[in-house]
Amino acid sequence: MITGRTALRVGQRLLGLVVVFLGVTFVIYLMVFSLPGDPIRALGGDRPLTETVIANLRAEYHLDEPVGEQYLRFLGGLLHGDLGTSFTGRSVTEQLRERWPVTIVLALTAWVFEIVLGVGLGILAALRRGTVIDKGVLAATIVLSAIPVFVLGSVAQLVFGVRLGWFPVAGSREGWPISFILPGLVIAVFGLASVSRLTRGSMLEGLGADYVRTARSLGVPPRRVVGVHVLRNSLIPTVTYLGTDLGYLLGGTVIVEGIFNLPGVGNLLVTSIRAHEGPTVVGISTALIVIFLLTSLLVDLAHGLLDPRIRRG
């Protein structure tokens, strides 16, 4: 039910979203354009460009203007859905459109792994509190999340790709799901420690709650007490975390796409940074930020569905 109060809350959040968006994109803009190296000279490769050509190119890409003005021009383009043009003359929007599907599928695959494994391990640890299983889950998830992504990725390629041959080593030729399982897992592993700890903690809290005693005093079977009465309450903090984490997962794809050579946005971002493709870098970052901000807004709203106390605001 949309009440005036809910609308007001969403309005407040959207306003905050715009402020954050402007701040973050401006910082990125500044950072990208203060990177060392000259993209225009790089365009020429080994052959030096004449001063007039350089000056013309600078004018064409508005590089001769102050940063503030360039930023405003960029924002103006954004309003028309135009993320700018790369120095190689291709529209950033076009490039992104081709690559989004791969990245989104990868992030969602990783997300599903994180939810299923993280929540599952968390529930298991809570129900077997203090046992070897509980401690094993804690140790394993922490060790795994402490390993850098590129190490984990390479080891996974070596073991499951080269030695065992269960999954393709790299590339997306075999499509979903087979090509996405390994990179998805590598991304998901990082969040497992947090998700399982969070689920375990809130499950334990829920198991000790008064309403659980009420349900038990009425003869509700234990499986139903845990699976229905406790789980709904206990998932609230986990859902919040998982929602915001979807944004991080998209960020996580940047490196993993590089390792597994998947033609997604992350891969494009890496190559663009190397090639000093400022407009592309800013464009991709902007898109990632928008997604990040929108997911956190959606999490807030989903929260209300699970917890009636928040719905009323």
Partner: protein, 550 residues
């Protein structure tokens, strides 16, 4: 089924040699120590005791709801069948269907994320196997009707946070009734409720017990509740039963010394005669048309205090009485500048708080001591008693060394924590103290600066009656000796009657009635005050019965 007369011969529930031992990180801690008693079919049995007496543990062990760390031995026979040693699956047939339970904190006892309708349906499915959709709905409505919760159709769609405490307890009772149990165990069912609501819930329990020929076992610490509802009483102390018998007999001629002490400790309304006259002079505290509002423009405001006038003379104890939401705590907070005052004046010793300078405010604050309800949270758990009591002296008076030591010693002696043969009180941490001892420390801290005014917000509500009696004595002695004025905030009319000089009765942020203690409590002029007084059960079964009949 046998005839009613024959059924009374055999107890419905029979507890013998019950022993419950908890494993607290490898150390055995005894919760119940060879307790034994009977609950006869159709009666209301009250199990009374103070905290730690094992009364709740006993109740939980009947339904097998204790945590896994508990070991239960002895015998609990229900309707001729042994319940101890049964596994969870076997107990589920008993739970809800033959024995049901209601709990102390009704809002916590309900699942916050499901509607009332869902929770009733869940209880019905668990206790009446095979029940179907439309039957569930009809049965749910019937249950809500039998617990007198109005507007049942709409209530089914509500979630617990939309209910008041009293309404929530009605829902919990409805859940318990779902399986039409023969025995209802009520564990402190009205302790978290206001007195007027408590009276309603007790009335409801009495009616249900009568109509459904249910047997009720009520666990309580409140002698008034016992006198109001029980046929027989079991008194527990430190895990054992010290006395049991008919309620009239136990109240009139207790056989155990502990029962007699417990009854003597209960404050009784009207037991103290009229007080001596005091001379007026300029009042220490003058509150005029005080309004306190919480919230903000965006979310809407809530007016907790609405145009309250009151005064406190020097050396006077003013009782501020009201139920939850009456604004009594907000008034106390307004006096120390901790509440958002949106209108009216607070004048302390001739200084208007609104126009007071920063240094004037600081000076005033030094002259006000505060004692809160829960000493467990109002004392820093990482401070020793000595640190807690000496802090205000060191900060405001700049006392150091032996001077400070002596002052702390005198203060602790004044609240009954003087030198002992064992370990000194000074070096102990809050977790090494009982609730009553902690509250004494809090009082010592509050009077450390020899305040002109002490604000005590429900200082004994979290304590057992026998502890409350001693803390109140300490309080009275200190007040007589130091002569401070006091704003005593309480929901308990009997405590206010014992302690205060004048009384102000609040309801919904407004003053209903105020005046001399004897005038207000013995001869109330307002309906609400009369209702409050009538709702608080009197700790004597004979008197309480005649009050109820009236």
């Amino acid at each position: 089924m046998t005839s009613p007369a024959a059924r009374e011969q055999v107890p419905l529930l029979s507890v013998r040699d019950l022993r419950v031992v908890f494993d607290v990180s490898g150390r055995p801690v005894t919760g119940v120590d060879s307790a034994g008693f009977d609950v006869r079919a159709g009666e209301v049995l009250a199990v009374v005791g103070e905290s730690g007496s094992g009364k709740s543990v006993t109740a939980m062990s009947v339904l097998g709801l204790l945590p896994e760390t508990a070991t239960v031995t002895g015998s609990i026979r229900f309707d001729g069948v042994e319940l101890t040693g049964r596994d969870d699956r076997a107990m589920r047939v008993v739970r809800g269907r033959r024995i049901a339970m209601i709990f102390q904190d009704p809002l916590a006892a309900l699942n916050p994320t499901f509607t009332i309708g869902w929770q009733l349906a869940e209880a019905l499915r668990a206790t009446r196997p095979g029940i179907r959709g439309d039957q569930i709905r009809r049965a749910s409505l019937d249950l809500l009707e039998s617990v007198e919760l109005g507007d049942a159709e709409r209530r089914l769609r509500h979630c617990p946070h939309q209910l008041s405490g009293g309404q929530a307890q009605r829902v919990v009772i409805a859940l318990a009734l779902a399986g039409e149990p023969e025995l209802l165990i009520a564990d402190e069912p009205t302790t978290a409720l206001d007195v007027t609501v408590q009276a309603e819930v007790l009335g409801l329990l009495r009616r249900l017990q009568h109509e459904r020929r249910m047997t009720v076992m009520i666990i309580t610490h409140d002698m008034g509740v016992v006198a109001d509802i029980a046929d027989r009483v079991v008194v527990m102390r430190s895990g054992a039963v010290v006395e049991s018998g008919d309620v009239e007999q136990v109240f009139a001629r207790p056989s155990a010394a502990y029962t007699a002490d417990l009854l003597a400790a209960v404050p009784r309304l009207g037991s103290r005669g009229p007080a001596a006259e005091r001379d007026g002079g300029r009042p220490l505290v003058q509150v005029e048309a005080l309004t306190v509002e919480y919230g903000n423009l965006l979310r809407g405001t809530f007016r907790a205090v609405d145009g309250v006038d009151l005064r406190i003379d020097r050396g006077e104890i003013l009782g501020l009485v009201g139920e939850s939401g009456s604004g009594k705590t907000s008034i106390g907070r307004a006096l120390i500048g901790l509440a958002p005052v949106s209108g009216g004046r607070v004048v302390l010793d001739g200084i208007d708080l609104r126009s007071a300078s920063r240094s004037q405010r600081a000076g005033l604050r030094r002259r006000i001591g505060v004692v809160f309800q829960n000493p467990a949270t109002s004392i820093n758990p990482r401070y020793t008693v000595e640190q807690t009591v000496s802090e205000p002296l060191a900060v405001h008076r700049g006392l150091r060394g032996s001077e400070l030591d002596q002052r702390v010693d005198r203060l602790l002696a004044a609240v009954g924590l003087g030198p002992t043969a064992g370990r000194s009180w000074r070096q102990r941490y809050p977790h090494e103290l009982s609730g009553g001892q902690r509250q004494r420390v809090a009082i010592a801290r509050a009077v450390a600066l020899d305040p002109d005014l002490l604000i005590a917000d429900e200082p004994t509500s979290a304590l057992d009656v026998s502890v409350q009696a001693v803390v109140l004595d300490t309080f009275r002695e200190l007040q007589e000796r130091l002569g401070f004025a006091c704003l005593f905030v309480s929901h308990d009319l009997a405590v206010v009657d014992e302690l205060c000089d004048r009384v102000v009765v609040l309801q919904g942020g407004r003053v209903v009635e105020s005046g001399e203690r004897t005038a207000v409590l013995a001869d109330p002029q307002q309906d609400y005050t009369r209702q409050l007084i009538a709702s608080a059960p009197y700790p004597d079964p004979v008197i309480q019965r005649s009050r109820r009949a009236a």
